[in-house]
Amino acid sequence: MPEYPDVWRKPPLIASAWLRWGIGLAVALYLATAIGSVNINWVRLAAGLPRGWRFLTSFFPPDFLSRGDEILEGLEESLAMTVTATAAGVALGIPLGLGAARNLAVRPVYLLCRTIIAGSRTLQELIVAIFFVKMFGFGPFAGMLTLTFSSVGFIAKLIAERIEAVETAPLDAIRSTGASWLQWVNYAIQPQVMPRLVGLSLYRLDINFRESAVLGIVGAGGIGATLNTSLDRYEYSTAAAILLAIVAIVLVAEYASGSIRERLR
């Protein structure tokens, strides 16, 4: 019987030991200097705590009534913004996602779609919102456009990734029936990615609603505008009521999307 070795080491991911240790050392060094560069001022930290506490306590008790109409109006505006933006985002995101899937689109289309997605995803919502507010004035229309703009990139990128991960056998099977490109997408791909698409859309709905609470700060309407106004007026108990309403709606959306996904499996 031949002798077998009794030691085995997994081959490292980076073959060259110099490069491997070099990268590790560089990351560690940078991390150390970065931590050093963030001045942690313990005195200010200690002084800030009671102030923060006083700020928080001024939120209680929450007051839903004295600005009840404005809160309701803001919520309605936000919901309308959220739903329309999500619908538009999904409608535009699907074709863009098809184009951005490497296994579906030809190279130029793929690159174009990926560029559009990158654009939509690089620009943060607040910056886009400021731009749209300048263009179209204050109000929920600017907010709706902002949310649509970022939803498109979100849906397109994630659905494209799902499409790239589909089972390939059905693709060949449907192609071999002589189906057209659209039929092929409809039969071989759509059923595979549908649960993911529904899940993503519901998740995006959720994100858009939360986002709408921030966009109001730069004048793009919705519950965020109401929240911003109440903070400007130092009406912290109204602000607390608004925050609670947002939490409640997000929780309801979370629960609803969970049960919808459960049914859709």
Binding site: D6, W8, R9
Partner: protein, 249 residues
């Protein structure tokens, strides 16, 4: 020795998948389990190591009642039952060696396995089995870089690493070409002979079963309808197991 007594499994919806199966497999005997799709072959194998929890009946391996064990006890008992799968069930992104060494997970502590520092004896054993199944020099390849036959050999080496007393083999050749299928069956048979292992082999291919098994058990609708030497498997017996072409099984 493996002993199944009155083993039954009823899934939440649907008929009984297994209905009072009695079966004894002595050490060193390779039993081919044949029967139509849905007869309960996979269920029988999975009830033996309790990947599927049997509804009633008992499983006994070398005198230990597997069906009575606590979760911790079952874990220890499972080490002695190596399983080999139809689609190989390798961890595709890990190296061949990691897949083979994973057969020792029931024996090795968490940190040793996390850092891939298996005991020297295990590593030597792994190299030995890789050589034995014809994959010497493949240890650093990723599992997804192998062909079907090679993958099944890794699966066999992994099962052997458990130092099993019993091999549970679920359709080992269904994803392989005829020549590779015969090689794999021969390998399993030889290894069982060398090590005195009992084995239950689910298999669709009656010709392969006849050629390689010591004994054939026919299952139909969860009931043993044939149990005998391969020579006794007459056309009539096959009709009993599989039903005639005209009737709907």
């Amino acid at each position: 020795m493996l002993r199944l007594t009155g083993l039954s499994k009823r899934y939440d919806r649907g008929d009984a998948a297994l209905n009072g199966v009695d079966l004894t497999v002595p050490d060193g005997e390779v039993v081919a389990l044949i029967g139509p799709s849905g007869a309960g072959k996979s269920t029988l194998i999975r009830c033996t190591n309790r990947l599927v929890e049997p509804t009633s009946g008992s499983v006994e391996l070398d005198g230990e009642v597997i069906t009575a064990l606590s979760p911790a006890g079952l874990r220890v008992a499972r080490r002695r039952m190596g399983m080999i799968f139809q689609e190989f069930a390798l961890i595709e992104r890990l190296t061949v060696m990691e897949n083979v060494l994973s057969g020792r997970l029931g024996y090795v502590g968490f940190w040793a396995s996390w850092f891939r520092r298996f005991p020297p004896e295990d590593v030597r054993q792994a190299f030995h089995y890789l050589d034995r199944v014809g994959l010497a020099g493949f240890e650093n390849k990723r599992a997804d870089a192998l062909s079907g036959g090679q993958r099944q050999r890794v699966g066999i080496a992994r099962a052997l690493m458990q130092s099993p007393a019993l091999l549970l083999v679920d359709e080992p050749t269904a994803s392989l070409d005829p020549r590779t299928s015969r090689q794999i069956m021969r390998l399993i048979l030889e290894l069982c002979g060398e090590r005195g292992l009992a084995a239950i082999v689910n298999i669709h291919d009656v010709a392969l079963a006849r050629e390689f098994a010591h004994r054939i058990v026919g299952l139909r609708k969860g009931v043993v309808v044939f149990d005998g030497k391969p020579e006794a498997l007459t056309p009539d017996a096959l009709t009993t197991i599989y039903g005639s072409e005209e009737t709907d099984a």
